[in-house]
């Protein structure tokens, strides 16, 4: 049998007779950054096999591997972000999206679906200049502000979700 065929057969035999947890670990390794896993994938799989042989219970092994993942994954991603400009941009983009989402949730919580409920919530005593989509509200303390409807919800003018 030619060398390359022998090597392919051996590789197939090696991966074919592995345990389910070995295959699971192989999949889990894809969570690591590509640059890291390209360098250490084979070693880590070999270590997993050794650990499987030496560790009595599968439960203890899984707990050990899970702990290792929880510690090492963030470290590898922080390293990746420190090194790569594009990774820094992705993180910045995610943070901006999270901030916008948080703002959306905050702004939505200030809204009510009915004008009456919103006016009560804002403690309006007098309502003037009312149209189907806006009204002026005056509170007990004499403060006046505008209430507006945006996408079927009522807000204080300026509190609305703006860009959405």
């Amino acid at each position: 049998m030619p060398d390359f065929e022998y090597a392919a057969t051996m590789e197939h035999t090696r991966t074919h007779h592995k345990s389910l947890s070995y295959h699971l670990y192989r999949c889990v390794l894809f969570l690591y950054p590509t640059s890291y896993i390209r360098m250490h994938r084979d070693e880590m799989l070999q270590n997993f096999e050794d650990l499987e042989k030496d560790t009595g219970s599968q439960g203890a092994l899984m707990k050990f591997i899970l702990r290792d993942l929880v510690i090492s994954l963030p470290i590898q991603y922080v390293k990746l972000v420190k090194r790569s400009r594009s990774a820094q941009l992705v993180v910045l983009l995610i943070l901006m999206l999270a901030a916008l989402l948080a703002y959306q949730v905050y702004a939505t919580n200030l809204a009510h679906t009915s004008f009456q409920r919103y006016a009560t919530f804002r403690e309006c005593v007098t309502i003037s200049h009312q149209t189907p989509t806006s009204a002026d509200c005056t509170t007990d303390s004499g403060k006046t502000f505008k209430i507006v409807e945006i996408s079927t919800r009522w807000y204080r003018d300026g509190d609305g979700p703006g860009i959405w």
Partner: protein, 110 residues
């Protein structure tokens, strides 16, 4: 002994990895086991944490990949570099001096 510039106290993981490689070349799993044994079970490293530390140590020039080993061709062996050995010796000297000082003070107060 030349003190490496800017030598800081070593982290426990780096210290025990250097200790494991001080006398012989080892592969990853062997290092994991040796670190656990040397630290009396206080430092237990999984594959992810181990290779993260080894990468950093290789970047700092403290360890390097050893030439291909006949005894097990599938594994990658690591060895300590002269810089790693120097840094380890500096750390040992620092720890010894701290222990001597502490012992002196303990005896004084006894």
């Amino acid at each position: 002994m030349n003190k490496p510039k800017g030598a800081q106290p070593l982290t426990p993981a780096v210290f025990y990895i250097l200790l494991a490689l001080l006398t012989e070349k080892r592969h990853g799993y062997d290092i994991m086991n040796q670190v656990e044994a040397d630290s009396e079970g206080k430092i237990v490293m999984g594959p992810g944490t181990l290779y993260g530390s080894i990468d950093r140590m290789m970047d700092d020039g403290l360890v390097e990949k050893a030439p291909h080993q006949e005894r097990d061709s599938r594994r990658i062996y690591y060895q300590i570099t002269p810089k790693g050995r120097d840094l380890f010796n500096v750390e040992i000297a620092r720890l010894s001096s701290a222990v001597r000082l502490a012992a002196k003070r303990v005896l004084k107060n006894a």
